[in-house]
């Protein structure tokens, strides 16, 4: 196995771990704010690691650019969505969870 393939394997497995953590957080966390925290990790880091792993295997520069563009789009989307949802939830009077 080549070095790049090994790196891809590592990055993809790490990404899968983040997706799993995001889903577990979505299922287990107590309120909308903590769930936002969980899913933005999967969005940003999980997809970022998967994209980084696939970048090493991309066949052309154009394919690499497209992968990076997809990741940047998702970053932008998840950041703005987290902000907008949290602000609306706060305005609607949903109290942040306290132990």
């Amino acid at each position: 196995m080549q070095v790049t393939e090994f790196l891809t394997l590592l990055l993809l497995l790490a990404g899968a771990g983040f997706f799993l953590a995001g889903t577990v957080g979505l299922l287990r966390f107590p309120d909308v704010y903590t769930r936002l925290h969980a899913i933005t990790k999967a969005d940003n880091v999980g997809l970022g690691l998967v994209v980084a792993g696939l970048l090493l295997q991309a066949e052309s520069l154009a394919a690499m650019g497209k992968l990076l563009l997809i990741w940047l789009l998702v970053l932008l989307a998840s950041a703005s969505v987290a902000h907008v949802v949290a602000r609306t939830a706060l305005r609607k009077g949903i109290r942040p969870w306290k132990r």
């Binding site: 393939e5 891809t8 394997l9 993809l12 990404g15 899968a16 997706f19 799993l20 995001g22 889903t23 979505l26 299922l27 909308v32 769930r35 936002l36 899913i39 999967a42 969005d43 999980g46 997809l47 998967v50 994209v51 696939l54 295997q57 066949e59 394919a63 497209k66 992968l67 563009l69 997809i70 789009l73 998702v74 932008l76 989307a77 998840s78 703005s80 969505v81 907008v84 949802v85 609306t88 939830a89 305005r91 609607k92 949903i94």
Partner: protein, 92 residues
């Protein structure tokens, strides 16, 4: 390597199925929308993996469309379906 890509795409689909439980339970519409948001990202990741596994580069364009729509759907949801109407006069 192809088996790794396909296996990971399958794993991501399984986490997606687990996430459906949150869509069922709620309790607020925002929780359901957050689950849908996570599904969007998971779909993007598994499409990218499938594009690599099957050697079908056009699946990356599908992933690009998913990434674009994810932003639009969630913002449209908050602005149209879940907004606080009585606060509209106060401005943003």
């Amino acid at each position: 390597m192809d088996i790794l890509y396909s296996g990971m795409a399958l794993f991501l689909l399984l986490t997606l199925v687990a996430g459906l439980w949150r869509v069922l339970r709620g309790p607020t519409p925002a929780d359901r929308m957050l689950a849908a948001q996570l599904f969007g990202t998971t779909a993007v990741a598994s499409l990218l993996l499938l594009a690599q596994a099957a050697g079908r580069p056009y699946l990356r364009d599908v992933a690009l469309v998913f990434a674009l729509l994810a932003a639009v759907t969630a913002v449209a949801f908050v602005r149209r379906a879940w907004t606080v109407w009585e606060d509209d006069d106060a401005g943003d």
